[in-house]
Structure formats: C-alpha cells, structure tokens
C-alpha cells in the first residue's frame, strides 16, 4: 500500500475526525472522545506504518494490528474504510442491526469487519493476544510485525501486567505496544480513578523498551515506531500523550466525552472546527449547507 507523506497524514487525521463525528451523529450511540484523540495515530498506522494489503486482509506478509481497547472502534473503522478494507458508505451503519461495524469490534470471520482479527471490548485482553501472535510469527521466522493499541484506563486490568511479564520473559521484540495516554476514563481522569504513575518506570521495571511521544505529532509518532523496530532484545511500548477529543473545543481533555455521541448541534460545531479535506466526506447531511 502506498504511504502518505506527513502533510497528507495530517489531512487524513482531520478526515478521520470528521468521519468519526459523522458516524456517531448517525448512530446516536458510541464513543467520541477517545477515537477523536487518536486520529493522528490511526492515520500514521494505516497510511504509513503498517505493511498491509486492504484488498487482501489475510495477506500472509501483513503486519498485525490489535485494538485492545475495543470501544475506540469508530476511529479504527474509519481508518479501515479509508484504507480500502470496505466501502466508505458502510460507515453509516455503525452499531446498526446486521452491520459489520459492531459497537465493539468483531473479527471478519464472524460477523465483523475486514481487517479485524479478534474481538475486543472487554478490556485488558489485547496485549496477551499480541504477544501470542508475535511468538507464533517468531517461531516461523517471519518478518511481520505486531502492533497493539491499549487505552491508559485499560492498564488497570491485571491481565495487561501478566502479558507485560510474558512479553519481556520471552524477549518478544517483534511487537510494538502503544498506550493512548489521555489520562481519561469513563468515570473521571485516570489519576482520580486509579493512579498509573510512574507509568514509564512501571513498564521499564517490567522489562520493556519505553518510548514517550506526543501522540498528536505524526513526526514524533513515526520516529517512535522506528525506534521500537530498532530494539531487538525487548518488547517496546510507545506511551503516546494525547488529549481526549483533541481539536474539538468542547470535547478537548474532557473525560465526560468518553462514551457519548455528539448531537446534531454539537456535530455541526465540531465539523466547523475541522475544515473539509481533499479526501471528501463519506456522507453529506442536509443541514451542512445551512
């Protein structure tokens, strides 16, 4: 798949945000803040980092991506559709009966969308899966790399730290974990619900190569991914500092936007703050011209 340059990646990130807003205003249900905050990371992953063939999702040479925090599905679905895994107009079916875009992701071989390998939604399970996949690929001396995205609230789950030990014990270096460090979870800021700090020290103590970056800087994120690939004796984790609802004024760094969709008026406001892109929207609402 052709890689986009930095300028286009930022433009794609803006388009992913517009898509998420439109999907959610149609579905009237779903998570806004986290997906909006991950637009740069998903743009970078699907249009630069991942070695994938969207027309052939099971391509044997593919890189594997797992979304452990399944509620972030809306931004994943937009990235998958924009990359060509399924038609753009399918984005309008999010959370509807018989849609492949389930409220939380399901794999393509069940009733889910192409590009998805394992279900997620119940938190804390994706890192173990990524480690298992990386071990399997290493056993066959394959070059495919494994990526997994974790929410920071999700790090409350004990299984994450079980998997962190397993990855380090087996020196799984064909794996890059990404932590969406937005300090927000459904009830409140993460430091209020369950303190995670010192987070960098925790991962280091568990035997990981830790890379910190600004998750809204595509240059920094791409550089961090490169650094993770250079590490050959440990698993790597990128702790990406992000803001929930970034680039939308009323959502910015507001944990109350974890699990709710925008209404029409809020969607109108959000879209006015995200100028249209050359990629084009997947749908145009009647009220957009007014």
């Amino acid at each position: 798949m052709e890689k986009l340059n930095i300028e286009k990646l930022y433009e794609m990130a803006r388009q992913l945000r517009r898509d998420v807003i439109k999907m959610l205003v149609i579905s009237k249900s779903g998570h806004s803040g986290g997906p909006i905050g991950l637009a740069e990371i998903f743009s970078a992953l699907y249009f630069n980092v991942l070695n994938i063939d969207p027309k052939n999702p099971k391509w044997v040479e593919r890189d594997y991506f797992f979304l452990s925090a399944g509620h972030l599905a809306p931004v994943w679905y937009t990235a998958l559709a924009r990359a060509g895994y399924f038609p753009l107009d399918e984005l309008a079916t999010l959370r509807k009966l018989h849609s492949r875009l389930q409220g939380h992701p399901a794999p393509a071989h069940t009733h889910g969308a192409p590009g998805i390998e394992v279900a997620s939604g119940s938190l804390g399970q994706g890192l173990s899966i990524a480690v298992g996949c990386a071990l399997g690929l290493r056993l066959d001396a394959k070059k495919n790399r494994v990526y997994v995205l974790l929410g920071d609230g999700e790090l409350n789950e004990g299984q994450i730290w079980e998997a962190a030990m397993t990855a380090a014990h087996h020196r799984v270096s064909n794996l890059t974990a990404i932590v969406d460090r937005n300090d927000c979870q459904i009830d409140n800021y993460t430091h209020v619900v369950m303190n995670l700090e010192p987070l960098v020290d925790k991962w280091k103590a568990f035997g990981w190569n830790v890379i910190e970056c600004n998750g809204h800087s595509i240059e920094e994120f791409l550089d961090s991914v490169e650094k993770s690939k250079q590490c050959k004796d440990k698993p790597s984790v990128i702790i990406a500092k992000t803001f929930m609802g970034n680039n939308i004024s009323f959502m910015h760094n507001n944990y109350k936007w974890h699990g709710v969709p925008p209404n029409e008026e809020q969607a109108r406001q959000a879209l006015s703050e995200l100028s249209p892109t050359s990629f084009g929207d997947f749908i145009k609402f009647d009220w957009e011209n007014n």
Binding site: T110, G124, I129, A134, L135, Q159
Partner: protein, 328 residues
C-alpha cells in the same frame, strides 16, 4: 451382554500428554502454553520433546488464554492447559471474548477436573467447568472415559478447526476401551445394549455405569450404557433413540447437577421425546478433601449411586405409564 475387562489403571491426563507428543511429531503447528503445573497436567512431556514450541506464561491463566488466541491468529494450533478450575473459571471472560466469540482455533485442555481430584479440596475440584464451557456459542466440550479414549479424543480435537474444551482427570482410572474402536466428535458410543433403561455417562462415570449395568443384570434388569464423550455438540439422535427404545434415562457425571451432561441430555429429551430421567451428579454442593474413590461414594456418583438412580427411574417409568393409562 457385552463384557468389559479392566485392562489396567492409568490417568486420562497421561493419555493427553502422550498424545500431544505423538501429534507434535506430525503437526509442526502444534504449540502448548503452560501456566506452571506442567508436570501435573502432563504437558511436561511435550515441553521436553519440543521446547521451542512450548511457551510458559507463569501462573497467569488469563494471559494463557490470550496468548493462545494470539498464537491461533498467527496460524498455530495452541493447546492451553492447567487445572480445570483455573482453565475455565479464572479466565472465563478471556475464553468468552478472545476465543469463543472470536471463533479462534484454541484448545483448552484441563486436567484435575471433578471431585476425584480429592485431597486438594473444593478450591481445586472443578465441578462447574462443563456448564461454563457448554453455554458458550462456538465452543465444543468433550471428556474421555479412559486413557485410551483420551488419546483418540485429543487427536480428533487437534484436527477439528475451532474452539474446544477437553476435560481430563488426575487419578489413575480403569482402562477398558478398545484401542481400535472408531472415535468421532459428537457421536456417542453404545457400550452395552439393553431394553429397560439407558445410562448416559461421561468421564469416569462411564466405567462406573458399566459396573452398575453388570450388577443390575444379575437382578434381571436390561441396562443400556452409552458413553457420551462429547457433551457439546450432544448426540441428539443417540439420546432420542435410547429414550424411544428403553423409555427411561439415567445420566452420570463427576460435575454439578446444574448445567452439565445431565442438563444437556434433559434439554434434548424435553424438546423431542420426554421420558423419566434421573441425574447422578454433585447435588449443588462444593466438595471437600478426601480420596477420589471415597468422595465419589460419599457424593453418590459411583456405581452404587448409579444403581440407585436406575431403580428409581424404573419405578417412575412404571408408575408414569400406569398414570398415563388411567388418564386414558
């Protein structure tokens, strides 16, 4: 009446461990994940034979299931194994989401199931595992009746593509099956023919049922014995045939009365051909320490408990027939 000879005493878990090594030589994609206790569940045999294909996750059953799911995504055939309680109860949500709902080719093979785990007591006696696994869509559930069947079963399960749960036992138990008899997932085996009543059993209770049938035959009761090694998908036709031909059913298992083999059989009977059924199972209680044989007797799931259940179901069969005549 067919006679079954007790050939020797050997554990089903050993059959599992030995079969893994045999399959490992033929199938390079077979991998095993261990959560400690490999010597107990006999995956140590595979670990020693194929160290590069064995992955230790430590005492971390939730991670074991997730790691297995990931290995399956990468095209491997992973076997995740520990004690029955920790293989099913502890990582239940991981099995539900990452294996069953995700429909991945993961084999969860648990040893130390049932009350016969014995001295370790209730914490280690998996008595709810069949129920837990049976309610999950996409999951199949099997339990062998002896060492020989354990080997055949694990080979069939590895060849099957999809999530599977297999339940083994710790103790050395009677070996009686025919090495050359065919084994097919979902196809029950009629071990003894009979006309008056049918005992449908799984696991160790299959041998206990054979003993019960032999004892009852001396009293003139003709007992059919069916080895229901696959609890899901259950052999519906085999159950309906037995109900039609014998008119009374006893189920026997080393598991809670709710949700296990007995419930699975009852679901088929009530929807297709209702006949009286008695349940030989643990009666909604936690176990306690003791040796396996004395616990089986105490909780009423050995030969004597099965004989009593047969007599009870035969009384119901005759009175319910009379009541039916009276109503007409």
């Amino acid at each position: 009446m067919a006679k079954y000879k007790l050939k020797e005493m050997k554990a089903t878990r050993l059959g599992f461990g030995e079969a893994l090594v045999e399959i490992g030589h033929q199938n390079p994609n077979l991998v095993v994940i261990g959560a400690d206790v490999t010597g107990s569940v006999r995956t140590d045999l595979f670990k020693n034979a194929f160290p590069e294909r064995f992955f230790s996750v430590g005492i971390a059953e939730q991670d074991m299931i997730g790691t297995a799911a990931g290995l399956a995504v990468a095209g491997k055939v992973p076997v995740a194994s520990t004690y029955g309680e920790f293989a099913t109860g502890r990582p239940y949500d991981q099995i539900r989401q990452s294996v069953a709902y995700s429909k991945l080719n993961v084999k969860i093979c648990a040893s130390h199931c049932g009350i016969t785990v014995g001295p370790d007591g209730a914490t280690h006696q998996a008595l709810e595992d069949i129920a837990l696994m049976r309610v999950l869509p996409n999951m199949i559930v099997l339990s062998p009746s002896d060492y020989i069947e354990a080997k055949k079963m694990i080979k069939a399960v590895i060849n099957y593509n999809g999530p599977a749960y297999v339940r083994f036992f710790r103790d050395n138990t009677p070996v009686f099956n025919d090495e050359n008899a065919p084994f097919e997932i979902g196809k029950s085996i009629e071990l003894i023919d009979g006309n008056d009543v049918t005992i449908i059993a799984c696991g160790i209770q299959v041998w206990e049922s054979i003993l019960a049938a032999e004892e009852l035959s001396t009293e003139g009761v003709s007992v059919r014995v069916i080895n229901m090694h696959t609890i899901k998908p259950i052999d519906k036709n085999g159950i309906i045939k037995a109900a039609k031909e014998t008119g009374a059913i006893v189920t026997a298992e080393d598991h809670q009365i709710h949700g296990g083999l007995g419930s699975a059989v009852a679901e088929v009977l009530t929807q297709n051909y209702p006949v009286p059924q008695e349940f030989v199972a643990i009666k909604d209680k936690f176990g306690e320490s003791g040796n396996g044989i004395e616990l089986m007797k105490y909780y009423g799931i050995s030969k004597d408990g099965i004989v009593d259940a047969v007599k009870k179901v035969l009384r119901r069969k005759s009175t319910e027939k009379m009541e039916l005549k009276y109503e007409k």
